[in-house]
């Protein structure tokens, strides 16, 4: 199946909720997935990995805590981008040249990129998001990739900073001209979570249905 962007957003919104995220965080995950798909990145694998962890912890992700200027997990595992992406976005307006956001070990760091890009777009700032093996510059609506994108399952030493350097000459990431298919096994995982958000019919709901009791064929 090759989904439309709106189908991706809608599916991830419900899947994130079904996996256990709060509605507001589910909205953020949905927007992130849409952004990655729109820019030609593989969005489905990192989203499914991230939501699998949400499900494993029954939605109770250990929150990030700030220690010595770095956000680290209050639990034993790596940080979750489901919490750190929104945190990065929330705090993007407060960082200064000398005061970047630093994150400790984080799962699926690519999921931070949409939040950095959105913040750049909405605040009209130039931000840099980097971890060992990957670097991005976001300026307004534009996005550059400044290093070969390593897409590790987890990374350490992630830095989100205001960027004072010159606009990179190369590596501009354009919006994807076409749609990408989603692998069946990933779609099925997402649909499984989506399904959990639906309410099965009951006798009461059937009687109260939207058109119950009235002819609609005239």
């Amino acid at each position: 199946m090759t989904p439309a962007l709106n189908e991706i957003e809608s599916m991830v919104w419900k899947a994130a909720r079904g996996a256990g995220l709060a509605w507001g965080l589910a909205e953020e995950m949905a927007q992130a997935a849409r952004f990655l798909a729109d820019h030609g990145f593989d969005w489905a694998a990192p989203v499914v990995d991230c939501l699998a962890e949400v499900e494993r912890l029954q939605g109770a992700l250990p929150p990030p805590v700030e220690r010595d200027g770095t956000w680290v997990s209050a639990g034993t595992g790596p940080l979750s981008p489901a919490l750190c992406g929104p945190l990065l976005s929330d705090l993007a307006g407060t960082i200064t040249i000398d005061n970047p956001l630093r994150f400790g070990r984080m799962a699926e760091p690519l999921l931070l990129l949409p939040f950095a890009a959105r913040a750049a777009e909405q605040l009209h700032h130039r931000f840099r998001l980097a971890w060992p093996g990957a670097g991005f510059v976001c300026h307004g609506c534009d996005l550059w990739c400044t290093a070969e994108i390593g897409l590790p399952k987890a990374a350490e030493g992630i830095v989100f900073s205001l960027d004072g350097a010159a606009i990179p000459a190369m590596g501009k990431v354009e919006r994807s001209p076409g749609r990408q298919p989603i692998a069946d096994h990933l779609r099925l995982r997402l649909e499984h979570w989506v399904h959990r958000t639906y309410v099965p019919a009951s006798l009461e709901s059937r009687l109260a249905g939207a058109g119950a009791g009235l002819t609609d064929n005239d």
Partner: protein
């Protein structure tokens, strides 16, 4: 800016007045409504229309293609006619077969594309689509009218005008899908095109062309039945047919889930009203035009038929209101005063029902196209552009914003059972939004986030336990459950008409008010509620056809009554 100064002269109506469900549920079409704005644009830009393909048999089965040429693009409505047994015909969105199915296509489809569409469009939700497919829809014949019209025309006579008036359409759509559904084009892409930038323009174009198909179809079927005797519809009567639409709960959450869009729609209407109210003097021709439209509206509204007793009472009250407005204009010098339109509005506010007040808004905009029509091009937004939460502000600051903008929510006692009697959910069986009874039905644990008032009140309570100077971002790490309403509160602070200011889960909530509001922006008329959860309407009755649009004199067809042939 003149416009800003003008608006400031009388001010916009406050959101606490406008954004109440009861008032939103009394909105009527205006000249800013999408279908009227779409037709004005089509006429202004000289869109060209054709019907290059008509392969429909004597039962109505086959394919037809209608094409549209705008200044920059070509589009086609591809129509599939089917042979549907009577017992399968249903207005419910969950049906699986229809009398006709449609796709608005980007370009002109070749035979291979028609074949691809033919393998999918008749299956609607069960088909799969591509970015070249822009809108998807389906419709069923009106049992009451369709056959009567075919039989009459085949017998060489015009159909009974009373029956046409009673039903108003030959087919009813039960869904019009856009924005990426089932793989069709994303709205992001359509928004790049001038003709489709504003809300629901592609959908309105689709329905307008469906109207042509339904009329061509009855005339074709009559001709196939009696080639020698059959006649076509007399032009004035032909024009009276609209397209029916049955809309249910599926549409209700839309206004709540798109706060920035509803703000743009309502703000355009309110800015238009403020511009008109601020006009210092009424020119004689404008006064005459206002009285003329008022008279025509009264005749047209007198043809509004509904089976719903509440709506029937409201229509009667509206007609009485308009009679009183007309009498008031005869009796007094309202229109000779300084700011005469403001005087009319204020008189309405003091003397008329909510239906009457909001219809007065419709009437006030009507003779002022030159002043307000530009606002129809502002009824869209980039929702993603304001998605980010500003987590740098303090909890105290957010609490103050809530106290200012959400007093309506903070004033509700959500500990009372009736304040939370309902819950919105998505049904597994129907895959559609539904409204449940919290105390009687299972599933409240899967409630969708439409209980804005309750959730903002809970956020406000928890903000009270935080240090006022704490950054919102830090508060949200502890309280992720509030994140969806924090976003709304921040949006509403910038967009005053973003929020429906009523409790959407109270025992007294009438979902139909949300449907009616949205449909009024589409330009629907003749609302005919079938319960408090679904409604039938008509789109485009009285409107010109593609082949008559260029010669049409004024954008006032919406006030045409059956007993007053359109000019």
């Amino acid at each position: 800016m003149i416009e800003a100064e003008t608006v400031a002269a009388v001010g916009l109506r406050p959101p606490d007045l406008v954004m109440r469900l009861e008032r939103l549920g009394a909105f009527h079409q205006t000249r800013l409504s999408f279908l009227r704005a779409m037709l004005r644009q089509a006429k202004r830009e000289g869109w060209a229309f054709a019907r290059p393909t008509w392969r429909i048999d004597a039962r109505g089965v086959g394919v037809a293609v209608y094409t549209v040429k705008t200044p920059e693009h070509l589009y086609s409505l591809v129509c599939f006619g089917h042979d549907l047994p009577d017992e399968l015909r249903s207005d419910r969105v969950i049906a699986e077969a229809w009398d006709a199915t449609f796709a608005l296509y980007d370009g002109i489809p070749d035979e291979a594309e028609i074949a691809r569409l033919g393998a999918n469009v008749p299956k609607q939700e069960a088909g799969r689509y591509q970015p070249s497919d822009l809108v998807l829809s389906r419709a069923n014949r009106s049992v009451r009218l369709f056959q009567h019209v075919v039989e009459s025309l085949a017998a060489g006579r015009q159909p009974h005008r009373g029956k046409v008036e009673e039903v108003g359409y030959l087919m009813r759509t039960t869904a019009v899908y856009g924005n990426g559904k089932f793989g069709i084009a994303d709205r992001d892409e359509l928004q790049q095109r001038p003709e489709f930038r504003n809300s629901f323009r592609a959908e309105m174009l689709t329905v307008w062309l469906i109207r042509s198909f339904t009329l061509d179809l009855v005339e074709h079927l009559a001709r196939m039945r009696a080639p020698a005797a059959a006649i076509v519809l007399e032009p004035d009567l032909r024009r009276r047919f609209g397209v029916g639409n049955a809309t249910g709960l599926g549409m209700a959450p839309f206004l709540v889930r798109h706060p920035l869009l509803i703000d743009r729609w309502v703000a355009a209407r309110e800015e238009a009203l403020a511009i008109v109210r601020a006009i210092p003097e009424a020119r004689p021709e404008t006064r005459a035009r206002f009285r003329q439209v008022l008279g025509r509206a009264r005749r047209s509204l007198a043809e509004w038929r509904t089976v719903d007793t509440i709506q029937a009472r409201r229509v009667a009250a509206l007609l009485a209101d308009l009679a009183r407005l007309e009498a008031e204009l005869e009796r007094t010098d309202l229109l000779a005063q300084h700011r005469p339109w403001d005087a009319v509005y204020r008189w309405g506010e003091a003397n008329l029902s909510l239906e009457g007040q909001e219809y007065t808004v419709t009437l006030l905009l009507e003779p002022h196209g030159a002043e307000v029509d530009f606002l129809a091009d502002r009824m869209w937004t980039d929702e993603a552009a304001e998605f980010r939460i500003d987590g740098g502000i303090t909890c105290g600051a957010l609490k103050a914003v809530i106290a200012r903008d959400y007093a309506w929510a903070l004033g509700i006692d959500f500990d009372r059972a009736e304040a939370t009697a309902r819950f919105w959910y998505v049904s597994e069986e129907k895959l559609e939004p539904r409204l449940g009874e919290r105390a009687q039905e299972p599933g409240a644990g899967l409630e969708h986030p439409l209980a804005i008032g309750r959730d903002v009140a809970a956020l406000h309570r928890d903000l009270g336990t935080a240090t006022p100077g704490e950054a919102l971002a830090i508060f949200l790490l502890r309280h992720a459950q509030h994140r969806h309403v924090v976003r709304r509160v921040q949006m509403s602070a910038r967009h005053p008409y973003a929020e429906v200011r009523d409790n959407l889960i109270g025992a007294a909530v009438r979902p139909i008010d949300l449907l009616r509001c949205k449909l009024s922006f589409f330009g629907a008329t003749r609302f005919d509620p079938r319960s408090d959860r679904w409604v039938r309407i008509s789109l485009f009755p009285g409107a010109p056809f593609p082949e008559t649009l260029a010669a049409d004199s004024e954008d006032d067809w919406i006030y045409a009554a059956l007993n007053e042939p359109a000019a």
